[in-house]
């Protein structure tokens, strides 16, 4: 019985040791993602966005910024798609603001995102300008509906991510 107690304890100990080893690098209190996201106003969004991307584990700060910019690209495309879909649905009251949103999101996709991608490693101050503009664009699209926006969640997603990206880029300044 003493024998099996030792074996059991050993086995249990090994299991715990193994799980600790596996968890350590990701859950260490001060990894780069944590310290970077602490410098943004939306820690949870920043952290979850970065951690759900495998490349974030080996990225430097500029790389983390690029990951967020990439996510913005995806969300902005989604938003643009939804805006166009709503335009096809033909509600006359929404037509004006929806058309504005098309322009705002095209700007984000064709100008702001490429500017940030190009500038982030070379001249981060211009990458910051791009993200300021992206946040403003999503915000302006939302404002255009005067409180009755059909795409609030999408607009806020893009805006919040742009706010996070800007904060990350400011670290590089």
């Amino acid at each position: 019985m003493g024998n099996s107690l030792i074996s059991l304890s050993l086995a249990f100990f090994l299991v715990i040791l193994l799980s600790l080893t596996i968890q350590s690098p990701v859950s260490a209190q001060n990894d780069l993602i944590t310290t970077t996201c602490k410098q943004t106003p939306l820690f949870q969004l920043c952290s979850s966005t970065l951690r759900s991307n495998l490349q974030s584990e080996s990225a430097d700060v500029a790389g983390l910024g690029l990951i967020v910019v990439e996510v913005i690209k995806g969300k902005a495309s989604e938003a643009l798609g939804q805006v166009r879909k709503l335009l096809r649905a033909g509600n006359p009251q929404l037509k004006g603001p929806l058309n504005q949103c098309v322009t705002f999101y095209k700007t984000i996709l064709e100008a702001d995102v490429p500017e940030a991608e190009q500038a982030i490693r070379g001249v981060p101050k211009f990458a910051e300008d791009g993200m300021v503009d992206a946040a403003a664009g999503a915000g302006s699209c939302e404002e255009g509906f005067g409180g009755k926006s059909p795409i609030t969640a999408m607009n806020m997603a893009v805006k919040d991510l742009a706010v996070v990206a800007r904060a990350i880029i400011r670290i590089l300044l």
Partner: protein, 632 residues
């Protein structure tokens, strides 16, 4: 017979040490339990609540600059970004008329797309040249190349083809800012920063392919580039914008490059005899703690007696040297006057309280990356400055362009004060003047506003003099301390100010841009004069960044208050006391455009009347266009 004895005999297969094993087993058991327990505890700790960020005080996570700018009076918050956070401010619904109006009539700008720093200005074979940071593809920054233009008079510019593109490994991520040096034998050496394919900042050499081409159309990059790489102790991204070179008493050339060590802004000096190999001089030419990275360093002599400009290599008695830096952390240009020790290559400010980065600004408005050159054609030191946009990137993409350059300014030492340089638009701009109207002795009682009866108000050159009654000035007893252009504005009334001009206003003053003086009496009975440009109500558009810009201007006993304004659509350049204090503003009216624009005189002081005399000229367009190659 003792049969009980046999039961106490040890069985042969039992280990003899059996009784000794019990303590070891116990120790092993305890040891393992402790291990288990500690690993369990460690396991729990590592997976504990990750709520630390919520416990971080808000001030660490949300720096002050996150707060949306107040719609009213602005605090002069230092801001590293070129653009403010516009938050939820909706974009103004610009019409094509409004946007088209914003393009300037006589300021240098490319036909479309993005521009930033001026590069390598020079005069060669009858032509003034300017190259500039240019994005050929978009109205926002990117794909930076060297654009190029020429002019015979610094006003009528002709666009030329792009001079340099990022086509070598040593500049593939950007052909950045640089300067030209004209050698005594007629050669032209261009030094510029390249951002390499690895994002390292290096200095490169380029030169005109054909010196007998007055247009200098083709530039050749030295095949041995880069000629300077970041030295030990200097960050790979903290090494850019080489200056024009100057020759020392030992016959060797020197070039300055701005950088930083931690938060101390510095100027490095390199020495060369052939412009292909360089030696970093020990120490730094100068350093100022807390100023951050020094971009676009400029270093040049001014005469303390004469009115002419000086070649960059000139030195001797009756000469001071200006050291200027563009502070990356604040996006502002600062300068200081001082003395250059040519033996040790060190520069010392005349007044350490007004050192580079903590004292005088070259221009108190929207202005950056300025650079001078010696115009040997007319013996002038000429200053270029990049004026970016203060609207949103979205606006720039809509209108298809961003940025202008100032009208080139002459720079001389201010002999009267001894503490400032004087900047003044080059006299060639006066060739655009026409239809002058004079207003003499206009009395402005406290709280008055007088419309100027002029034909049009979008392209103007105005010179104005303001006189405050001396007795009234001295009669004002109240002390006024702590005045600051950026925290006040034209609506804040004092006994002795504000008073001045209002430009780019509509007739009902929904939109207006006051440019004014404000005199404050200090405790000792002396006066401080401020010169400010107030953009707060310059436009109804919310996404436009609107501030009150300005600073103190020295006014000597017996001097009248004078200002000169160049109004050119969306840019206003304002000069006080002959150029002692200068403010450049970007204005984007929605109402005060074209024929609806007006100008006024005003006096919002409570305690004094002001007498104004002014001359207003309309300004012709400079018709800046592409070089007419086909007409040759």
């Amino acid at each position: 017979m003792d049969t009980n004895l046999s039961s106490y005999t040890r069985l042969p297969d039992q280990p003899t040490a059996a009784p000794n094993r019990r303590p070891v087993k116990a120790i092993a058991g305890i040891f393992l339990s402790i291990l288990l327990l500690s690993s369990l505890v460690a396991f729990i700790l590592n997976n504990g609540p990750r709520d630390a960020p919520n416990n971080v005080p808000k001030s660490q996570v949300l720096p002050e600059t996150w707060m949306p700018p107040s719609r009213g009076v602005e605090q002069g918050v230092s801001e590293k970004a070129f653009r403010e956070y516009s938050g939820m401010d909706p974009e103004y619904n610009w019409t094509n008329t409004m946007l088209a109006w914003q393009r300037t009539a006589f300021h240098f700008q490319p036909q479309k797309n993005w521009m930033n720093d001026p590069n390598a200005p020079l005069f060669h074979m009858g032509w003034y040249h300017i190259w500039y940071q240019y994005n050929p593809d978009s109205a926002i920054w990117g794909n930076i190349t060297w654009g190029h233009a020429v002019s015979t008079d610094l006003i009528h510019w002709l666009h030329l083809p792009i001079a340099m593109v990022p086509d070598h490994w040593f500049d593939s991520n950007g052909v950045w800012t640089g300067s030209a040096t004209l050698l005594p034998d007629g050669q032209i050496v261009i030094l510029y920063t390249g951002d390499t394919d690895d994002y390292v900042q290096v200095q490169n050499l380029a030169y005109p392919a054909n010196l007998s081409d007055p247009l200098l159309l083709d530039l050749v990059k030295y095949e041995g580039n880069p000629i300077m790489v970041p030295p030990p102790g200097i960050g790979m991204k903290d090494f850019r914008d080489p200056t024009t070179a100057w020759v020392g008493p030992d016959g060797k050339w020197r070039v300055a490059i701005g950088s930083k060590v931690n938060t101390t802004g510095i100027t490095l000096v390199y020495q060369t005899t052939n412009f292909t190999s360089y030696e970093l001089l020990e120490g730094v030419m100068h350093a100022v703690p807390g100023t951050g990275m020094w971009e676009c360093v400029d270093f040049y002599p001014v005469s303390t007696t004469g009115r002419n400009g000086l070649d960059t290599s000139v030195n001797g008695p009756g000469i001071k040297h200006v050291l200027k830096a563009s502070l990356d952390d604040e996006k502002k240009d600062f300068y200081a006057l001082g003395t250059y020790d040519t033996i040790n290559d060190k520069w010392t400010p005349d007044d350490p309280e007004l050192d580079v980065g903590v004292g005088l600004r070259v221009d108190y408005g929207k202005y950056y990356a300025s650079k001078t050159f010696y115009d040997h054609n007319k013996q002038r030191r000429i200053l270029w400055g990049w004026i970016g946009e203060t609207d949103s990137e979205y606006d720039d993409l809509m209108k298809g362009w961003a940025s202008v350059q100032t009208i080139p300014r002459t720079v001389v030492f201010d002999v009267k004060t001894g503490t400032n340089i004087l900047q003044w638009p080059v006299e060639e701009v006066e060739e655009l003047r026409r239809n002058s109207i004079e207003f003499n002795g206009v009395e402005l009682a406290p709280g008055s506003i007088v419309p100027l009866n002029i034909r049009s108000a979008t392209q103007l050159d105005i010179t104005a003099t303001f006189e405050v009654d001396k007795e009234a000035l001295e009669g004002v007893l109240e002390v006024d301390v702590g005045y600051n252009c950026s925290t006040a504005g034209a609506g804040v009334r004092g006994a002795l100010g504000p008073f001045g001009l209002i430009v780019l206003a509509d007739h009902s003053l929904f939109e207006l841009t006051p440019v004014y003086f404000y005199i404050s009496k200090d405790v000792g009975g002396g006066y401080k004069t401020f010169f400010c440009a107030d953009e707060i109500r310059s436009s109804l558009a919310l996404e436009v960044n609107k501030k009150v810009h300005g600073g103190m201007v020295p006014v000597l006993d017996g001097e009248k208050l004078t200002m000169r304004l160049l109004v050119d659509h969306s840019i206003v350049e304002s000069f006080a006391q002959g150029g002692r204090t200068v403010i450049t503003s970007r204005i984007y009216p929605t109402k005060a455009v074209d024929g609806a624009a007006r100008a006024f005189l005003f006096n919002n002081a409570t305690g004094v009347s002001v007498t104004a005399s002014l001359t207003v000229w309309e300004m012709k367009s400079a018709y800046i266009k592409p070089y007419p190659f086909d007409d040759i």
